[in-house]
Structures are given as structure tokens and as C-alpha cells.
Symmetry: C2
Subunit: 258 residues, 2 copies
């Protein structure tokens, strides 16, 4: 690229999260950066959008960096819609989301606000990447990730991400010298087994906390879970055409006549 690319940065942990600060720092070295991110944590929001209430959006400056920043009361997907359709002068060359505090590998992609922001950008025709680190702590160390993020983003800008595909990038929780490299993977087949922790409020009303255990049923060596377990960074190309094309033939054998 001859001119500096225009890069939209967002996340789901909120605009002050250390993960998005690390991502902004790397992006400032590559292009002109506009940040539009939630004003509070939005983990687990999936692809929620705000259609029955209003959205607030305010220009702010969190860390004195060279980027433009806005915080919004909306979901991650709302932030991307606001950025592309209202706040930015032109369509961005790339949208990056994260770095998420916690894994978005395998089935977690479905629940992830980080990835739904990237998917929303993809739907609107903007190349997009979600970045997540397998470490839920607010104090997670994002330093070892920065050279890899730089490489992945420069590839995406130069080589182009295939159309209607967004990248789901997950980093293993390892020191820099123990990260083995990058693997292109498929999404592992996995699910959560929920346990509901049932309690009673001081007023005598039952309520629940959702907790759960992650079950990976997939022994495939080509999955994101396998790559992460071996110390690789996983990249899963992710699509938003959800059609199960392989199932169409079988469904056409169903009989709907009297």
C-alpha cells in the first residue's frame, strides 16, 4: 500500500481494557487508527445489536495516543455499524477486534462479542480480524503477541483476506520463546456443559449464576484447539454464510405432501 491504511479498532472488553490498548499500539505503527469501542465490558454479547433503545457515542482520549477514539453505549456489533456508517470519513481498509481477554477458539466464536464485531465488519465488506489471548486475567501479558499481530495484519493488508471471510486468531498462553508459530486451522467441534449455581437473594427469590465446563470432542490435529494446545497461534477463516450445503440433498427427501 502506498498510502497509510485506515484501520478501525474495536473490542468487547470495553475501551479501557489492556487488550485493546495493546492492539491500538501495534496498529498505530501500521496505519491511521480510529477506535470505536464499548464504554463497558460486553463479553458474551454474541452478535447482539441495539434495536429497541438508543445508542450513545462520545469522542474521548484514553491514553494520549495518536488514534481517534470514541466510546459507545452499544454492543461490539453496534460499534462497528456506528464507525463504518456514521463516524468514519471513508470505509476502513481493515477492522481489528480485541485483543480479547480470554479464548475465542472453537465454539466460543458463536458467543464472542470480539468475533461478532469482526463478522459485522466482514458483512459490511470490510476485511476483518479478531484477536484473542487464552488468558482471562485483566493483567494478562500482551507483549509477546505484538510482533505476531503486526505480521498477520501486514499479510492481511498485502495479500487480502478472501472475500466473505474473517479471521479468528487465538494466542496460546505462552512466553514469547515458547510460541511455536502460526497454524491455519478449522474450528474444533466442542461445546460447554453448563452448571447452574442456584442461590437465593436476601429477599427470598431464587436466582442462578451460569457456569460451565468446556468439552472438546474433536481429536483432529487440524483444529484450533489442537494448535493452541501445542503452543501454536491458531487462525481459523470464519464465514457468515451459515448454510449447511451438505444437508440440502437430505432435506429434499422429506415429504411435505398430505
Amino acid at each position: 500500500m502506498s498510502k497509510r491504511p485506515l484501520i478501525l479498532v474495536t473490542n468487547d472488553d470495553g475501551i479501557t481494557a489492556p487488550g485493546i490498548r495493546a492492539l491500538i499500539e501495534v496498529m498505530n505503527g501500521i496505519g491511521d487508527v480510529v477506535v470505536v469501542a464499548p464504554d463497558s465490558p460486553q463479553s458474551g454479547m454474541g452478535h447482539a445489536i441495539t434495536i429497541n433503545s438508543t445508542l450513545e457515542c462520545t469522542a474521548i482520549n484514553v491514553d494520549g495516543g495518536q488514534q481517534k477514539e470514541y466510546q459507545s453505549s452499544g454492543t461490539p456489533a453496534d460499534c462497528v455499524k456506528l464507525a463504518i456508517n456514521e463516524l468514519m470519513d471513508r470505509k476502513p481498509d481493515l477492522c481489528v477486534s480485541g485483543i480479547n481477554h480470554g479464548s475465542n477458539s472453537s465454539i466460543n466464536v458463536i458467543y464472542s462479542g470480539t468475533m461478532s464485531a469482526a463478522v459485522e465488519a466482514g458483512i459490511e465488506g470490510v476485511p476483518a480480524i479478531g484477536f484473542s489471548l487464552c488468558d482471562y486475567r485483566w493483567t494478562a501479558d500482551f507483549e509477546p503477541l505484538k510482533p505476531y499481530i503486526d505480521k498477520i495484519v501486514r499479510n492481511a493488508l498485502e495479500e487480502k483476506i478472501p472475500s466473505d471471510v474473517v479471521l479468528n486468531v487465538n494466542f496460546p498462553l505462552r512466553n514469547q520463546q515458547d510460541i511455536k508459530g502460526i497454524k491455519i486451522c478449522r474450528q474444533a467441534k466442542a461445546h460447554w456443559v453448563e452448571k447452574f449455581d442456584k442461590r437465593q437473594s436476601p429477599m427470598g427469590k431464587d436466582y442462578y449464576w451460569l457456569t460451565g465446563e468446556f468439552i472438546n470432542e474433536d481429536r483432529g490435529e487440524d483444529t484450533d484447539e489442537a494448535a493452541l494446545a501445542q503452543g501454536y497461534i491458531s487462525i481459523v477463516p470464519t464465514q457468515f454464510d451459515l448454510t449447511a450445503h451438505h444437508a440440502i440433498q437430505k432435506l429434499n427427501t422429506w415429504s411435505f405432501e398430505e
Copy 2:
């Protein structure tokens, strides 16, 4: 099936919506019904789950029918998790979600609480179907849909839905005699172009309403949008493995070396 199937019913418009009442009525004719649905409208919630706050859940009876019913403060995906892992004595034979007041065809599947409930059931190994009517009105007429829902559900119970696939069923807004039949389809490639309606509060603070225009870029005759436009009921087999398998080869040509 020799014994009556156990059917979980949920939705995203809330437990008192006319759409879920119509669905419960049809399901009561087929099996033993348990309803777990949001206590208020949750449209556009996508696959949001409640992980940073508590969930309430209360047994109620809305219409005096033979079904068991619970309302929850959670999202549609929460309701399915609660039902399968906490409230029901055994795993249901089927989960049906809807009938949604409004279309969930093409890209709307991504934003849909109705479909995310069905997808959540699918992830947990329960065959699932989301039903939606292309009519947003609370006063929509669900009567013409009932015989079709009955047929689709009986097929699903007898023929079995392919594994890791959930069905996205959309009904055109037509009188019964003008519905031409059922078509198995792929998801049309479409997106929303947002317009943000910017206003100022009485306190002088800017806020936005999200509005938008639906753009169908897909002229394919095999899409859900084409079927609906011609007066057919569309069924799209929908998957939750989001891997864009076709893009893996291209991404393997990227260079991540120094």
C-alpha cells in the same frame, strides 16, 4: 415414535408474544411441551449469553394450556441452557423457537435471538428448528402457518435433522391459499445499510437510533429470499461450524517468516 416426544419451546419476542402462543398450540398436539422463554422482548440479541450477572427463572402459566412454562430474565440462548441443563428432567427430543414476529431469512440469521436459541440447542445435541414470519406486527396472523409447522416438525421427529444442523424456517406474508409450498434453500447473500438517526436529549446529549435498509445482493433462485418472494416457505439448513474451509489453502500461502 412410540411415546410422545418431549419438546422445548422458546422464542425471543418474550413469553407472552402471540407467535410463541401459536407455536405452543401446535406443539401440544404433537408432544409433551416445556416452555422456557424470556420474560421480555429480546429481539436482536444474537447469541448473547449472561455471564457477568445473575439469571432469574420463575414457573408461570400464561394461557391455561397443558404445557409447563417458565419465564427467565435471560437471553434466548440462556433460556435453552437453563431448560436443558437445569429445568427439564431429560434431554428434549426437539427444540422449537419462535414463531418470530419478523423475518430471520438471509443475513438476519446472525442477529436473530430466535435462531440463536435454536443454534444453542443444536450445539447441545438437541435437534432444533427456528420459525419466523415475515410480518413484524404484534397482530400478525399465525393461523395459516400451523399446518405447515405441524408437517415440518413431524418430518424432523421421524426423518431426523442431519447432525450439527438446525433449520431456519421463514414464512412469507401470504394468505393460506397463496402459500405455494416449501423450498429447501441456501442463505441469500445480503446485508443491511445502516442509517443512524442522530438526536439530542432534553439534557443536550447526542444519541442515535439505529435504522437501516435491507439490501439483497443475491440473484440466486435457490436462496431463501427468492423462495419467500415467490410465496414459498423457505427452510435453510444452518450450521455452527463457521470454518470457511475453502479459504484454508489460500491462507496457507501467507508468509509469517521474518
